[in-house]
Subunit: 218 residues, 2 copies
């Protein structure tokens, strides 16, 4: 499998998580930052290899084989992110691009030994799940902070947006995975939230709250 094929599979995988239907050519092109015509070409190749099911004009879906391949790429990406943060002291906003390269290294032995070295982590530094060697994913019930009720308390367990600017904002506000957050009030005009974190009270916009995952605690 080529570098490029792997990137397409991964893109289709990510897009198919938030959709029941086939994934559209344009959506793939947008995510991968290429052109629709390039996507059509590649999709045909993936279909020939039985990694996706493709019917002209109908979008594309992963086969079982394609799904497993995609999960293995995601597995590698996220394990390398854990390595970079836990072992090499990278900040959580610095790991994405490097992991984007590391995920293409082809060695099952390597990734399984890395997994063991890291202690078989189940989540990456952004709270996203790491598929195990068989492709199994532990699903954690979590909700967006923007969907929590006033008075509820949650533990921050992930981010939806893992862009550098968002992650650096969180660092600045001293919000990290594991932080306990209590929703104190919600402004109905702009849906901004008043929250309490680390004993401090602060106001966050609806956009921020819509990109933070929390696990509700009593």
């Amino acid at each position: 499998m080529t570098y490029s094929e792997e990137n397409y599979l991964k893109a289709i995988y990510h897009l198919s998580l938030s959709q029941k239907q086939g994934v559209s050519t344009n959506a793939i092109a947008a995510l991968i930052e290429s052109k629709a015509s390039s996507v059509t070409d590649m999709i045909k190749k993936l279909a020939d290899k039985e990694l996706v099911i493709y019917q002209k004009y109908q979008g594309v879906m992963l086969t079982d084989k394609g799904l497993m391949a995609a999960k293995m790429i995601v597995r590698k990406h996220r394990l390398w992110e854990v390595f970079l943060v836990e072992k090499l002291d990278f900040a959580w906003d610095e790991v994405h691009d490097v992991a984007e390269e590391l995920e293409h290294i082809k060695s099952e032995k390597l990734i399984n030994k890395l997994d063991a070295f890291l202690g078989f982590p189940t989540e990456d530094p952004h709270g996203d799940p790491i598929p195990d060697k068989n492709g199994n994913i532990i699903k954690v019930e979590k909700q967006l902070l923007s969907e929590m009720e006033i008075g509820q308390t949650g533990i921050c367990v992930g981010v939806k947006d893992s862009s550098s600017s968002f992650l650096q904002y969180l660092d600045k506000q001293q919000i990290a995975l594991g932080s306990k957050i209590k929703v104190m009030a919600k402004e109905s005009f702009d849906m901004s939230l008043t929250i309490e974190v680390n004993g401090k009270t602060m106001i966050i916009s609806n956009k921020i709250a819509g990109n933070l995952f929390a696990k509700t605690v009593l």
Copy 2:
């Protein structure tokens, strides 16, 4: 710099270590397992980028810029090998192919943090020197076992051939980096050596002795 350009630079670097002259097209083709015509193409591209000096029919030499680039690739390769052996418990005969891929990951931060994580090693698992971040290499005086005098004792500090079959042979004979080896006798007919390692006496062929580096001790 592309993956392929990096492989050419590395090949030219390795070949130029054992030669004062320019490196020949055919030598590169043989090492890289490609054709002379492909090498000519790539050499022209490297010359355009001022990584090598090239005159038709005269072979090729690295520029300062090319030399540094090559050393950085070798640095990455060897640091990753240390990582694989020291941290992930790979055997020394299993690391080459994986490191061949890892050496192309583009992140100075990554490699310098990896270097620190590993404790700034100066040699890889085969005894080859690891260039530091400035390209400096610590040269260790060492000689081939085949060149040692009868009665001399040495510490094994490296291998010339790092093929899997040779390394596995050494494992089987319990010869490793750090082993103390005393040359007891040399057979003039075939230049085979009688040596003493770990208290055991054994006979090794001239071919074996010609691929083992030792540092003489009193």
